[in-house]
């Protein structure tokens, strides 16, 4: 609700323009707040000063009123003193004694004291009236002196006449003058009272006006200042919301030239940076996708190449090995004895060449990710017996003992039996190759969920610094090894990759001069194909 009102005010009132103008002022938030508070404080100080002045005015007029009241009292005393003097005069005329006359003079002295007091406090207009009363009183005293002289001379009738012709009218005049002065003084008091009331009303209006203006100004300033801060914050909120949603590259427009303005500039800078980064990332992703497509194409090409290479190499090998086999089988008649050996050599070398071709193609397939295992159930004893049968002749020819041990009661295993045989064949073949005397032992055990194959020999061993490279392609422990023992150095690399493809691992323990033991593990049941 309040929010909607604020929005309406911002849209349709000049306050909206003021909010933008305040935002555009090139000053810090701190200065703007300080200025607003100072303005309100100044207004409150002005309000205070006006109130004080009004109070002082009322006090001044009250004092004037008091003085006027004192003067009216004094006038009443004078009236009273005249009344007494008149009375004394009547006594003196009736009794013809000096004492009454004395009383008149005594009253006259008191009258003078009062007059002096009056003259001190009176204003200029009243001072004239008072002087005129005093002058008349002086005439009265002169007349009273003459009447007193006549009474002393026992000229009572003359005294009476003088009193009636001069004294009495003078007294009457004084009474009239005093009455007029009192009336004037009272009229003055009325005016002062009205003045006090006017001052009071003015003070009330002024104070109320100032207070109302202060409230309106404070509210207005509060509205303007706070909205000049709230608007950019709202803008930033919306903007950051979009950035959070991943919509980069937008910008924020605020009129502010304060901290909010610089914040907005920095946010725009950030947005530009983010957008640039996003673009770069998108470009990179696009390039990556294109590269990936190229790689896939290259991989397909490699796969096609492998297929055709395999075929092209095997086709002539087929003829070479096929013809030699048929010759040796006597298909073309009995072989002359001196040709038997070279025909056997051709066959052996042909087989070696085939082995080499197979190894190179296997490795290429593994590296191209095309080597797929064909898991099926196999019996470990069968694998070991295949090896033993294949290598028995080689072992015997070198005078080596070939021992195989398979722990009894192994479960039926699941895996690519052919590939596992290939691995064990590689290791056992190597062991026989690198052992001049002693024995080669193949041992298979179960370790939990894994089979552990071990091939131990009493051969030349592997130097410690070369053990870590032994499973790399085209590596044999020593370059001279290739010369002395032959081989391509591919067998271990392929074995390692096939073992890992099964989800197993391979390692070696060796001591130069004493022999080596190669180990590898294969899950008893290869549940899923491990990535190539």
């Amino acid at each position: 609700m309040g929010e909607r009102i604020a929005r309406l005010v911002l849209a349709y009132s000049p306050l909206g323009a003021l909010v933008r103008r305040v935002a555009r002022v090139r000053a810090s938030v701190h200065s703007k707040l300080l200025a607003a508070f100072l303005l309100i404080a100044l207004l409150l100080i002005a309000l205070g000063v006006t109130s004080l002045e009004s109070i002082a005015g009322v006090a001044r007029q009250s004092r004037l009123l008091d003085q006027a009241r004192e003067r009216v009292d004094a006038m009443r005393q004078i009236e009273h003193a005249f009344g007494l003097q008149m009375n004394f005069m009547r006594n003196a005329l009736a009794l013809r004694d000096d004492a009454s006359i004395e009383s008149i003079f005594r009253e006259n002295n008191r009258f003078h004291d009062t007059f002096n007091r009056l003259e001190d406090s009176a204003g200029p207009s009243q001072r004239d009236a008072i002087r005129s009363i005093r002058r008349t009183q002086d005439q009265v005293m002169a007349t009273v002196a003459r009447i007193a002289a006549l009474i002393r001379d026992d000229k009572a009738d003359e005294a009476m006449d003088l009193h009636l012709s001069e004294g009495y009218p003078l007294y009457r005049e004084i009474a009239t003058q005093v009455t007029r002065a009192v009336r004037e003084e009272e009229a003055g008091m009325g005016r002062i009272r009205e003045g006090v009331e006017a001052t009071y009303r003015r003070a009330l209006l002024l104070t109320g006006g100032f207070a109302a203006a202060s409230i309106v100004l404070a509210l207005g300033l509060g509205f303007v200042i706070s909205w000049s801060f709230i608007l950019p914050v709202r803008e930033a909120e919306g903007f950051l919301g979009e950035v959070a949603k991943g919509d980069f590259g937008g910008s924020i427009e605020v009129p502010n030239r304060d901290e909010f303005g610089s914040l907005a500039r920095q946010m725009n800078e950030m947005s530009r940076e983010l957008h640039q980064l996003y673009d770069e990332q998108r470009r990179a992703a696009h390039q990556l996708r294109a590269l990936n497509a190229q790689l896939e194409q290259a991989s397909r090409a490699k796969s096609d190449f492998l297929a055709s290479m395999s075929h092209e190499l095997r086709t002539p090998m087929n003829a070479i090995l096929g013809f030699t086999e048929m010759i040796r089988d006597g298909l073309y008649g009995e072989i002359p004895p001196d040709i038997q050996e070279p025909v056997g050599d051709i066959h052996t070398c042909g087989k070696q060449l085939l082995g080499l071709i197979n190894n190179v193609l296997d490795l290429s397939k593994i590296e191209a990710g095309h080597m797929e295992l064909a898991p099926s159930e196999y019996v470990v004893e069968d694998v070991v017996n295949t090896i033993k049968l294949s290598l028995r002749a080689l072992a015997a020819s070198k005078g080596l003992e070939l021992v195989t041990t398979v722990v009894p009661d192994l479960p039926l295993c699941l895996g690519d039996g052919k590939r596992i045989t290939q691995c064990l064949m590689n290791l056992a073949g190597n062991a026989l190759k690198f052992t001049a005397e002693g024995r080669v032992e193949i041992r298979v055990e179960q370790e939990g969920e894994h089979l552990r194959f071990a091939v131990a020999d009493t051969g030349i061993g592997i130097p410690a610094d070369q053990i870590e490279h032994i499973f790399e392609e085209f590596r044999q422990a020593d370059a001279t090894v290739t010369r002395d023992f032959g081989g391509t150095g591919l067998g271990l690399a392929i074995t390692k990759k096939l073992v890992e493809l099964h989800g197993g691992r391979i390692w070696v323990q060796s001591e130069p001069g004493k022999g080596s033991t190669f180990f590898f593990t294969i899950p008893v049941r290869v549940t899923q194909e491990a990535p190539a």
């Binding site: 395999s310 075929h311 090998m317 087929n318 003829a319 048929m326 064909a374």
Partner: protein
């Protein structure tokens, strides 16, 4: 007398089988590409076909599929010679309808045994 059709584009390999079967009662006919293999099989109705997997014009697998699809040749057993090129070749040969498969390089002795199994020499 049984007739064996060998579909193979390499002369030397055809020569091996020619000489291998020369001492037996089998009659050998030859074709050097997939299309020729299919048409010869239809024309000659051999008792056994040996099909190389990689052939010009029409691959050995496709030729095997076509022969197995045609009623007049569907019953002829086919030995597919694979080259162990990629995993799955054997399965593909089986799927195409091969009765048996042999990987190159094959042993002539083994091939002869296989021929005798599938098409006994009467």
């Amino acid at each position: 007398m049984k007739t064996v059709l060998y579909v193979e584009d390499n002369e030397f390999n055809r020569k091996i089988v020619r000489q291998l079967l020369g001492r037996t009662s089998y009659r050998l006919i030859e074709a050097t590409d997939g299309e020729a293999g299919v048409s010869t099989a239809r024309a000659e109705r051999p008792d056994l076909i040996i099909m190389d997997i990689q052939l010009p014009r029409l691959s050995g697998l496709e030729a095997t599929r076509q022969l197995k699809a045609a009623p007049e040749t569907a019953d002829v057993p086919i030995i597919v010679i694979t080259s162990f090129a990629l995993a799955g070749d054997e399965q593909k040969a089986r799927d195409a309808g091969a009765a048996a498969y042999l990987a190159k390089p094959y042993s002539p002795r083994e091939l002869l045994g296989m021929i005798r199994d599938l098409a006994p020499e009467s």
